[in-house]
C-alpha cells in the first residue's frame, strides 16, 4: 500500500488541478466570453432592473397575472431562523413536495386548489399541472391548456376581451423542440410581461 502512496498523491493533486480548476475555470472563461447572457442565468431586465430569469419561474398571486405551477420550496422562517417555512419559488433552495401519491396531505391539497380553480372557470375540469407542485419548485412553464384555463379570470381582472388574451397566449406557446421533443408549454413570466406591455 505504501508503494502506492506516491502515485496516489501525485494523481489526486494532478486531477484536482486539471479537472477541478483548469477545466471549470477555463470553461467559465470561454462561456463568459462567448455566451455571457446565457452563462449568467438568462436574466431579464426591465428599465435596468433585473426582474428575474426567463428560465426560472416566479410567484404570481394576483388575478391580473397568469399563475404558474404550485411551488413547494421553503426558506428560513423569519420568526424563528432555525425552522423553515413555505416560500414559493425560492430560487436559492429548489425542490419538490416529495409527497406520495397516496398521501392524504397531497389529496387534500389538490382538492382545495381544484375547487378554487373550478369556481374561477365555470366548473370546468382542471388541467393537472395547475394543481400539482413541480419537481424543482421553479418550473417556469405551464401547459397551453393550463394557460387557456386561466384566460377568463385574467381577462376579467384586466378588463380585456377573452379573445385578445387567448391570442397573446397563442403567441407565447412554444411547441415541442424540433417538433417532437418535450411538451408544448407557455413561459408564465414572458406571458405576463407581454400582458403588462399592452395593459400595465
Amino acid at each position: 500500500m505504501l508503494r502506492q502512496l506516491r502515485p496516489a498523491l501525485v494523481m489526486i493533486v494532478a486531477m484536482t488541478v486539471i479537472t477541478g480548476l483548469l477545466y471549470p475555470l477555463g470553461m467559465t472563461g470561454i462561456a463568459q466570453a462567448v455566451l455571457p447572457g446565457r452563462a449568467n442565468g438568462s436574466l431579464i431586465a426591465v428599465n435596468g432592473q433585473v426582474i428575474g430569469s426567463e428560465l426560472i419561474g416566479q410567484n404570481f398571486a394576483s388575478d391580473r397575472y397568469f399563475q404558474g405551477r404550485l411551488s413547494a420550496t421553503v426558506g428560513p422562517d423569519p420568526a424563528d431562523p432555525s425552522k423553515t417555512t413555505s416560500v414559493p419559488y425560492n430560487a436559492a433552495n429548489s425542490g419538490g413536495s416529495n409527497l406520495a401519491p397516496t398521501s392524504q396531505v397531497l389529496i387534500d391539497r389538490i382538492k382545495g386548489d381544484a375547487d378554487v380553480r373550478k369556481s374561477q372557470n365555470r366548473g370546468q375540469s382542471v388541467p393537472v399541472d395547475l394543481v400539482t407542485a413541480s419537481g424543482s419548485g421553479l418550473d417556469p412553464d405551464i401547459s397551453p391548456e393550463a394557460a387557456l384555463f386561466q384566460v377568463p379570470r385574467v381577462a376579467a381582472a384586466r378588463g380585456l376581451q377573452e379573445e385578445r388574451v387567448r391570442q397573446i397566449v397563442a403567441e407565447h406557446t412554444e411547441q415541442r423542440v424540433l417538433g417532437v421533443l418535450g411538451e408544448p408549454r407557455v413561459n408564465v413570466l414572458k406571458l405576463n410581461l407581454a400582458l403588462d406591455r399592452i395593459n400595465g
Partner: protein
C-alpha cells in the same frame, strides 16, 4: 401514453445504439495505448504524470496491486474532498459565505462522490461553496467514473488474456479515461449546455425584484461544467438540490435528451470494447441485448404508470397524468424515461421527484437498482456487474448439462463462482440489512416523511440507492441525520468495494487461465438462448431476493391506491 412519447423513447435508443460502435472503437484504442487524434496534445501531459508518479506507463500490475492502487487513490480522494468541505468557509470561491459542512454530512458526501454514488443529504445551492463544487465534487465525478472504467477494462483483459499474470496498470487506465475520454467530451458538452441556458459563472447569486415586487434570490454558479461530467460519468450529483429538474440544470427537452444519452453512452460502448478486446464483437452485442430487454420492459411499465396518472386525483375532477414533482417541459414521458435510465445506469440524476411517482412508477427504479444496475449500469460498474452475472449464468448452464462451464474459452471454476456470488450477495446484504435495522430503530423511523407503505419504500430506496451506488432518492426521507449519514455511507462503501474486489480477483484468475478451444459441446454466448438465460438468472436472483421487500412497499401502496385508500400521519 402517446405516440409522441414513444417516438422520443425510440429516438433516445437509436442515438445510444448509433454511438456504441464509434465510441467502442475509440475507447479500445485508448485503453490499448494506440495513437489517437488527441495523442499529440495529451501524450506529453501523460508523460509528466507518469514521471512524477514514479510509475512506468507500461508497467503491468497483478490484480492485487491493481486493487491496492485503486484503493490508495480513492482513499486520498476521500480525504481531499472531506477536508475541502470542512474548510470551505475559509477557502476561496465562496461568494455566498457557505459555512463549513458538519462532520457526518461531510463524511457521507465524500464517500458518496468517491464511490460514484452521489447520494446527497444536502441541497447544493444552500450548502456547498463553488470551490467544493469544482475542486471537490467535480474532481470526484471525473475520477470515480475513471475508476469504474479502469476496473471494467481490467476485467475485460482478464477474459481476453491467456496465461498472463497481470491485468494492466491502474494509473494508466485511470489517467487515460480522464484525459482521452471524459475531459474532451465534457468540454464540448459544457459549451452546448451553456448555449441552451445552463449558467457557468463564478459570480454570487443574483438578486431580482419580481413582477409582483417580491425579492427573489436566484442561485447560479459554475453549473454547466459540473453537469457535463455528472451525466457522462453516471455520477448524478446535482449542482442544485432539484438536480436535473431545476430549469438551470436542464432548461429544455433537447438538453434533456443529450443528458439521457450521456448517461448511457460510455456504459453501452463498453460492451463493444469488451467484444473488440475478446476478439468477437457479437459477445458484446449479446450482453447489450440482455440489457436492452430489461430496459425496454422497465420503460414501458414506468411510462404507463405515470401517463395513466393518479386515480385518487382523477376522482377530484382533475384531468391528466401524474404531474406532482414533474416539470411541464418534460411531461410524463420524458420524466418516466429519465427515471428508468438513471437507475438502470448508476447515475442517480433525476428530472422529476421519484418520491411522488406512482407506486409502480417508483417500483421500476427500485428494481433496476436492486438488480445491481447491470442494465448499461454505471460507467464500468455496469459491465463488471453484468459479467459477474454472466459467470453465474454459465455456472447454472453448466450444472444443467453436467459439464464444466466455460466462457470465451476460459473454464469457470469454483474460485470464480465463489467470487461472483460474494459480489452479488453483498448488495442485498447492505440493502435489506440496513433497511431492516432502520425500520425498527427510532433513529431510522424519525426521518420518514410519508406515512404508510410509502414510508417503508423511502427507507428501502435510500439503502438500495446507496448500496447500488446510484444516488437518486425518495426525497421525502430526511437523510441528513447522523444515523443515515453514517449507515448510507457504509452501504455505499460495501456496494462499491465489495463488488470491485471480487471482480478484480476474477480478472486475475481468468487472465492466468489457458484458453480451451471451441468444441461441439461449447455453449455459444452470442445468441438468443444465452441472452434469455442471462436475463432469467438476473430476474430470478434479483426477483426472489427482493420480492418480499417490494411487496411491503410499492406493491401494497399500489393495491391500496386502487382501493381508494390514502394514508395520513397517525391514521
Amino acid at each position: 401514453m402517446t405516440i409522441n412519447g414513444w417516438i422520443q423513447i425510440l429516438i433516445f435508443c437509436a442515438l445510444v445504439l448509433a454511438l456504441v460502435k464509434p465510441l467502442g472503437w475509440y475507447m479500445t484504442r485508448v485503453f490499448s495505448g494506440e495513437h489517437t487524434l488527441l495523442s499529440p496534445v495529451l501524450r506529453p501531459v501523460e508523460a509528466v504524470l507518469y514521471r512524477l508518479s514514479g510509475t512506468g506507463e507500461r508497467e503491468e500490475q497483478h490484480w492485487l496491486t491493481y486493487a491496492l492502487s485503486m484503493l490508495a487513490f480513492n482513499l486520498l480522494g476521500f480525504l481531499v474532498l472531506y477536508a475541502l468541505q470542512r474548510f470551505q468557509d475559509v477557502l476561496p470561491y465562496n461568494p455566498m459565505g457557505m459555512a463549513a459542512v458538519a462532520p457526518d454530512l461531510a463524511f457521507n458526501t465524500a464517500v458518496s462522490f468517491m464511490t460514484n454514488t452521489n447520494w446527497q443529504n444536502y441541497g447544493g445551492e444552500s450548502t456547498m461553496s463553488y470551490l467544493v463544487q469544482m475542486a471537490g465534487l467535480t474532481v470526484q465525478n471525473f475520477v470515480s467514473a475513471a475508476t469504474g472504467i479502469a476496473i471494467a477494462v481490467a476485467l475485460i483483459r482478464g477474459f481476453s488474456r491467456a496465461s498472463a499474470k497481470s491485468v494492466g496498470n491502474f494509473w494508466t487506465d485511470m489517467s487515460r479515461a480522464v484525459l482521452y475520454l471524459l475531459l474532451p467530451l465534457c468540454a464540448v458538452l459544457t459549451v452546448f449546455y451553456v448555449a441552451r441556458g445552463v449558467p457557468q459563472t463564478l459570480s454570487a447569486y443574483v438578486g431580482a425584484t419580481t413582477l409582483e415586487g417580491a425579492k427573489q434570490t436566484i442561485a447560479v454558479g459554475p453549473v454547466a461544467s459540473q453537469l457535463a461530467i455528472k451525466m457522462l460519468g453516471t455520477n448524478g450529483g446535482g449542482f442544485f438540490n432539484a438536480n436535473s429538474a431545476h430549469p438551470f440544470e436542464n432548461p429544455d427537452a433537447l438538453v434533456n435528451l443529450i443528458q439521457m444519452v450521456s448517461i448511457f453512452a460510455i456504459g453501452a460502448a463498453l460492451t463493444n470494447v469488451f467484444g473488440r478486446m475478446v476478439g468477437d464483437q457479437r459477445q458484446g452485442w449479446a450482453i447489450l441485448g440482455a440489457m436492452g430487454v430489461i430496459f425496454i420492459v422497465g420503460v414501458a411499465v414506468a411510462y404507463w404508470a405515470e401517463a395513466s396518472g393518479n386515480p385518487l386525483v382523477h376522482a377530484l375532477g382533475v384531468e391528466g397524468g401524474n404531474m406532482e414533482g414533474k416539470e411541464v417541459r418534460f411531461g410524463t414521458a420524458l420524466s418516466a424515461l429519465f427515471a428508468v435510465i438513471t437507475t438502470a445506469a448508476s447515475c442517480g440524476a433525476v428530472n422529476a421527484m421519484h418520491s411522488s411517482f406512482m407506486p409502480l412508477g417508483g417500483l421500476i427504479p427500485l428494481i433496476n437498482m436492486e438488480l445491481g444496475e447491470i442494465v448499461i449500469g454505471g460507467v464500468g460498474a455496469g459491465l463488471y456487474g453484468m459479467l459477474l452475472f454472466v459467470v453465474l449464468t454459465m455456472f447454472v448452464a453448466g450444472l444443467m448439462v453436467g459439464r464444466t462451464p466455460e466462457y470465451l474459452g476460459k473454464k469457470i471454476e469454483a474460485k470464480e463462482v465463489k467470487m461472483a456470488i460474494l459480489a452479488i450477495l453483498c448488495l442485498p446484504l447492505a440493502m435489506l440489512g440496513f433497511t431492516a435495522l432502520a425500520v425498527v430503530l427510532p433513529a431510522g423511523l424519525a426521518s420518514i416523511g410519508n406515512p404508510g407503505p410509502h414510508g417503508f419504500s423511502e427507507v428501502l430506496y435510500a439503502y438500495v440507492s446507496g448500496a447500488a451506488n446510484n444516488g437518486s432518492a425518495f426525497g421525502s426521507l430526511s437523510g441528513n441525520t447522523p444515523w443515515y449519514n453514517l449507515t448510507i455511507g457504509m452501504a455505499m462503501l460495501m456496494g462499491r468495494f465489495l463488488v470491485i474486489a471480487p471482480a478484480l480477483a476474477i480478472a486475475g484468475s481468468m487472465a492466468a487461465k489457458k484458453t480451451v478451444p471451441v468444441s461441439s459441446g461449447t455453449f455459444p454466448t452470442h445468441g438468443g438462448l444465452f441472452i434469455g438465460l442471462l436475463v432469467g438468472v438476473i430476474l430470478i436472483v434479483g426477483g426472489l431476493t427482493f420480492f418480499p421487500a417490494l411487496a411491503l412497499g410499492p406493491i401494497v401502496e399500489h393495491l391500496s391506491m386502487i382501493a381508494g385508500q390514502t394514508f395520513s400521519v397517525g391514521g
